[in-house]
Subunit: 246 residues, 2 copies
DNA sequence: CGATTCATTGATTAGTTTCAACCGCAGTGG
DNA sequence: CCACTGCGGTTGAAACTAATCAATGAATCG
């Protein structure tokens, strides 16, 4: 399950400019360098479990994971898709509130909780960045509440593809997807359904419907081509214009 | 709409120990005192509008408000119920992402954005407290996603009453509601429905059903008596035990 | 007292879930 | 080599939950 990590210096780190360390200067990076450690985990692993102690805080360096909660009777809701530069764990709380499960092989950059909390307290660059990231996540979580509470199944699926396309566009440099876009789906239909508050079947049907209507093409199950991004965004009913407000 | 504020010193402030200023010392309070101003607004006022500039950040001192978004076609989702000590506005962003609407007469303690952001940068006690509050809100937003995505109408209504009872218990000193509890509903059925992702009619029917089943009593439309809090919590299916993890 | 607003209740409809079957593909072992 | 099995995904039919449409009741306010 846990593979030996590839050594990486912060300067070469792919999430150097997006993660919690984004605004750190050279001296601060040197401190982080001393206390960080990488870990690579196979797909399907539990990085954290609801109610269980979480000894390390970490950033996703590569790969994809979900944050979810499962009710006693088995109903599951995924409350977040974790992609590179996303943060795992909650400073100031010793146990995890959600399950964190890897969807692909995932490499994380981790810090022992106590060490990290000391660092936050003593390094304003990190504290400020953490606050900013947390505020962004809060906005995203509330945006998602609108999707879960008020959109139809078709709109939910469209909204999910649109949000994923936006995140992949951001992390690959170009800020906003436009016109034709190709999208790699890091999730199974089941994981999508868990995030959308739908069943697998409904999710699949809506994917089929979007394909039938020419809004998406599916070269393979995990690849989506969006011929006209704006048209798909329109299906999502969410009047979010891409979050360019900042 | 805007009434003349009652003068109040921070030491006497009802949210002194719960708001963003909770961990400030006397010197820090003195600084806040100089730059704060109170404002009291009638029920039904818009404190902020999605997409519009938000010049002040504030804390709710008394009263109740909702944070919501409305889609072009009129569908509305409330993403948060704001009660005393809750924070309004997002440091680092000049415009509001949501509508903030008062449900009752509301008094807020407000700070000009620039001033507050300077204060956050220079006062670790405020920055830390703000981070901690934001993290709590993030957890709450994600918890609510589970409600919106996976609970039935009956469970949603029960979950809402349970969460409101918990918040009112916390703010009135006792930490956890137990046995028989009386609850003041600051929201109309419509506001409840908007928060639950349901229609007014369904919300009303589920209230009736919970009353029929003896889980709640309704002396008036805005008053709920919960004879057995644990029984109601059980109806909510949400295995949250009250968030005592902190 | 009529008008208005908010809440409840009933009947019907629509959208999503549930139950079930089937397909395509990859891995496995006779 | 190829039937067998397991898994993820798709599709169909029936069941069910919540939404919609419509009417009534209760409370508040000029």
């Amino acid at each position: 399950m846990i593979k030996s990590p590839t050594l990486l210096s912060c300067g070469d780190c792919p999430i150097r400019h997006n993660a919690v360390c984004a605004t750190c200067d050279a001296a601060e990076l040197a401190m982080l360098e001393k206390v960080k450690s990488y870990r690579t985990v196979a797909a399907g692993a539990l990085l954290a479990e609801a109610g269980q102690p979480l000894t390390h805080l970490s950033s996703i360096v590569s790969g994809c994971a979900t944050m979810s909660r499962t009710l006693e009777d088995g109903r599951r809701q995924t409350v977040g898709i974790l992609l590179p530069s996303d943060f795992i764990g909650r400073p100031g709380r010793a146990t995890s509130v959600f399950d964190i499960e890897t969807l692909s092989e995932v490499t994380i950059c981790r810090f022992e909780r106590q060490t990290f909390e000391t660092l936050v307290a003593s390094t304003p660059h990190i504290a400020t960045r953490l606050l900013s990231m947390t505020l962004d996540e809060l906005d995203a979580a509330r945006d998602w509440a609108v999707v879960l509470g008020r959109l139809t199944a078709r709109e939910k699926v469209a909204a999910f593809l649109v949000s994923l396309a936006r995140r992949q566009a951001v992390s690959s440099g170009k800020m906003v997807p436009q016109g034709a876009t190709v999208l790699h789906l890091p999730l199974s239909r089941e994981a999508m359904a868990d995030h959308l508050g739908l069943t697998i079947e409904t999710t699949s049907r809506q994917m089929t419907a979007l394909r039938r209507d020419g809004l998406i093409e599916t070269p393979s199950n995990r690849e989506i081509r969006i011929p006209d991004f704006e048209a798909l965004a329109l299906e999502a009913a969410d009047d979010d214009d891409g979050g360019l407000i900042a």
